[in-house]
């Protein structure tokens, strides 16, 4: 364990040889029930679950369209570009866009609260 992280290292949390000793279990259960943790979990899940559903559906629809609607995919849009190429490039665009949105969501809604809860929890485990 390099020195930089030893402050956060599990090795420094005593009384928890088992990780499952009653005291640490109580701490984790209490934190799980706390409002601060619920807010973090809520902001994580309300972003990640719907967005994952959307991008997976969008990708699978796109792949399925090659088989199900080849006529539509062949339809020309501009010059040599047809609907298939346009949708493919849009897949690239949405991937970059969602990456940015996710990171913004995590940075603004979660990071600070998660970090302070981390130190709190580790203090309680001490």
């Amino acid at each position: 364990m390099s020195g930089a992280e030893s402050g956060a290292a599990p090795g420094t949390v005593p009384g928890a040889d088992g990780g499952g000793t009653d005291s640490s279990t109580e701490v984790y259960k209490a934190v799980q029930q706390s409002a601060a943790f619920r807010r973090i979990r809520h902001s994580y899940r309300t972003f990640v679950f719907p967005v994952s559903g959307v991008f997976l559906a969008w990708y699978l629809l796109y792949v399925a369209a090659q088989a199900a609607a080849p006529g539509l995919m062949r339809h020309p849009v501009a010059g040599p570009v047809n609907v298939a190429w346009l949708l493919g490039l849009l897949q690239f665009a949405t991937t970059f866009l969602l990456t940015w949105l996710y990171s913004r969501n995590a940075r603004t809604k979660r990071d600070r609260a998660a970090l302070s809860l981390r130190w709190d929890t580790q203090d309680q485990l001490r």
């Binding site: 499952g20 640490s24 979990r41 990640v48 570009v81």
Partner: protein
């Protein structure tokens, strides 16, 4: 990938001398990195996680280096050169998969685990058989992937060096295998990561250089590039439309959907990608390295599309196919043309340069895979499941005690000697976290040194197995093997990982069912697919015992993996332990107690 006739526009003679010289430079540089990194002989944290002190940028490059195998660099561009739009589909699946990694996996895995995927499961499901199942699945996935890379390496390097003899391929496979064993056993994760970084920088630089030359050649007119590509593809407008490769029948379209599903869900279950997240200090750094990786991988695939089109436009599909039936030499051939053509100095230099980058790519990826595989073996199967097994002997030594509820694994003898405070996550015999942290003063414990030694030995063993398998599998198509590795990862690893992280009621029995319920169908379906028998290009072309029509099992085996985990949980004799899930949830989302 089959042996090909010498490429008609490929260089001969001195062209290859330069390539050989550059190959030698790459071998020397990577060995130097390995020796430098290997001088710091630390404990398990150094060997598996490179000390956890890489920056997000460094790890982002290493992630993309691990991901962009030779199959991507040469394979995807080659597929685009041969099949146009259908090749583009490949690259999109490879990229979108990273959103799954970014949103559902990277940060939580970093917070909850130590070295491997099974660590995350073990945090809440403290059973040795869970760890053994997950470790075993990881070894299988990495072996498939490893064989794919080495078979590719054999034919590719031989081709780039201008020989096509079976002997040259065989020796290439043995040499690449030997090098990767040295990288991993001597340098561990630190050396492997630096090799990935160097390789990723070279790969991106080479791609940018070729793309710029290509764009200049076409005066920035992308539409003209597409038109010329269609013209020289031999397929006309159909080159730019879906269906050139996967449009012949309903079965082949379904096969493509199956592959697409495996690609998008498989990445998040690849052990060598997951273990990368442990090389950075925090979950936030894991997220930022994933973002770097998405930028690099996405940018790379955009360039690969352009290069594939360029190869068709400037070299021609027929020439590309003639040089290598799988299209793997499309990019080097394009480099030759862009540099000024055969016989020109620019062409020679560029061809040798791109060939050397492809070689570096192969070396780096096999090293990463060997490391992940040896970690799964030593940390999960040996230390986590085997060493922790309940033993009747030695009961008199120390304070052996069963865990609070007798159903958990027993504290291993070798670990009882360690101070209690050394490792709270490692020392509880939770079908353990194996070597856990080192002692507080930084020196590795005996148990830890023992585990790292096993990992080094495992790297040699796995490397040897991979060499032998690759020698037998030389006729298999590389892209297929990679797709198969993704399918197995998506079927065996991803369901159990997602269930563990998000499903409150998930049980150990569900986990074991989920791993085997995905792994076994995936492997069995492949054994009875047209890939193994029944076609001319199959593994056993003379026999026919196939009954599964698809080449990629993903569409069946991935849902089965999820279904098996669900049924296993519902039929569990004992309910899930809410306390363990509380710990996993808090730790994975906040980073409390993270390694």
């Amino acid at each position: 990938m089959r042996a090909a006739t010498p490429p008609p526009v490929a260089p001969t003679g001195d062209h290859h001398d330069l390539a050989i010289a550059l190959f030698a430079v790459i071998v020397l540089v990577t060995l130097a990195i390995t020796l430098l990194a290997g001088r710091r002989r630390g404990g398990a944290e150094d060997f598996y996680a490179g000390g956890r002190d890489f920056t997000p940028l460094q790890n982002g490059f290493a992630l993309s280096g691990d991901y962009l195998s030779a199959a991507s660099f040469l394979g995807v561009a080659g597929l685009i050169a041969l099949y146009g739009y259908d090749g583009v589909l490949y690259s999109i699946g490879f990229l979108v998969a990273w959103l799954v990694v970014l949103m559902l996996v990277a940060e939580l895995v970093r917070n909850a685990g130590r070295y491997t995927l099974a660590d995350v499961l073990a945090l809440r499901l403290r059973r040795r058989k869970v760890r053994a199942a997950a470790g075993g699945a990881s070894v299988v996935v990495t072996l498939f992937y490893l064989v794919a890379q080495m078979v590719g390496a054999g034919s590719l390097v031989a081709l780039l060096l201008g020989t096509n003899s079976a002997q040259a391929r065989t020796w290439t496979i043995v040499a690449v295998g030997g090098l990767m064993i040295v990288y991993v056993t001597v340098g561990g994760m630190r050396a492997t990561t630096w090799i990935q970084i160097v390789k990723a920088v070279l790969l991106v630089a080479g791609s940018v250089l070729l793309t710029v030359l290509l764009v200049v050649r076409f005066h920035g007119d992308v539409a003209e590039l597409m038109r010329q590509a269609a013209q020289h593809s031999g397929a006309g407008q159909r080159y730019l439309e879906p269906g050139l490769k996967y449009g012949k029948s309903f079965t082949s379209r379904l096969d493509f959907f199956s592959l697409g599903l495996a690609l998008v869900l498989g990445t998040a279950g690849l052990p060598h990608i997951l273990s990368r997240f442990y090389t950075v200090p925090t979950a936030r750094a894991a997220r930022r390295s994933t973002m770097w990786a998405i930028g690099l991988v996405g940018g790379f695939y955009l360039m690969a599309i352009a290069l594939g089109l360029g190869a068709t436009a400037l070299v021609g599909s027929a020439e590309v196919r003639h040089a290598n039936s799988a299209g793997n030499t499309a990019v080097p051939l394009l480099a030759l043309v862009l540099g000024g053509g055969n016989g020109s100095t620019g062409g020679v230099v560029l061809f040798a340069l791109i060939s050397a980058i492809a070689f570096a790519t192969i070396l780096a990826v096999v090293a990463g895979l060997t490391l992940a595989s040896s970690a799964a073996f030593a940390h999960d199967i040996w230390a986590g499941a085997w060493r922790c097994r309940p033993r009747r002997t030695g009961a008199g030594r120390g304070d052996r005690r069963s865990r609070a509820r007798g159903r958990r694994a027993v504290v291993p003898a070798s670990r009882r000697s360690r101070r209690a405070a050394v490792s709270r996550t490692g020392g509880d015999g939770r079908a353990g976290t194996g070597a856990g942290t080192g002692a507080a003063d930084g020196t590795p414990t005996v148990a830890e040194r023992e585990e790292v030694l096993v990992a080094r030995i495992a790297a040699v063993g796995i490397g040897a197995v991979a060499i032998v398998l690759s020698l037998f599998a030389q006729q298999l198509n590389v892209a297929f093997l990679v797709g198969l590795a993704f399918a197995v990862a998506a079927s065996a690893n991803l369901p159990v990982l997602l269930y563990s992280l998000f499903w409150r009621r998930f049980t150990a029995r569900g986990a074991v069912c989920s791993v085997y319920g995905g792994l076994i169908p995936a492997v069995v379906l492949v054994a009875f697919s047209p890939v193994v028998s029944g076609t001319k290009v199959a593994l056993f072309p003379g026999m026919d015992f196939h009954w599964f029509p698809l080449e990629n099992p993903g569409i069946v085996s991935i849902p089965l993996g999820f279904l098996a985990g669900w049924i296993g949980t519902l039929t569990s004799p004992e309910p899930a332990d809410p306390d363990r899930f509380a710990e996993l949830e808090v730790r994975s989302l906040t980073g409390a107690g993270a390694a």
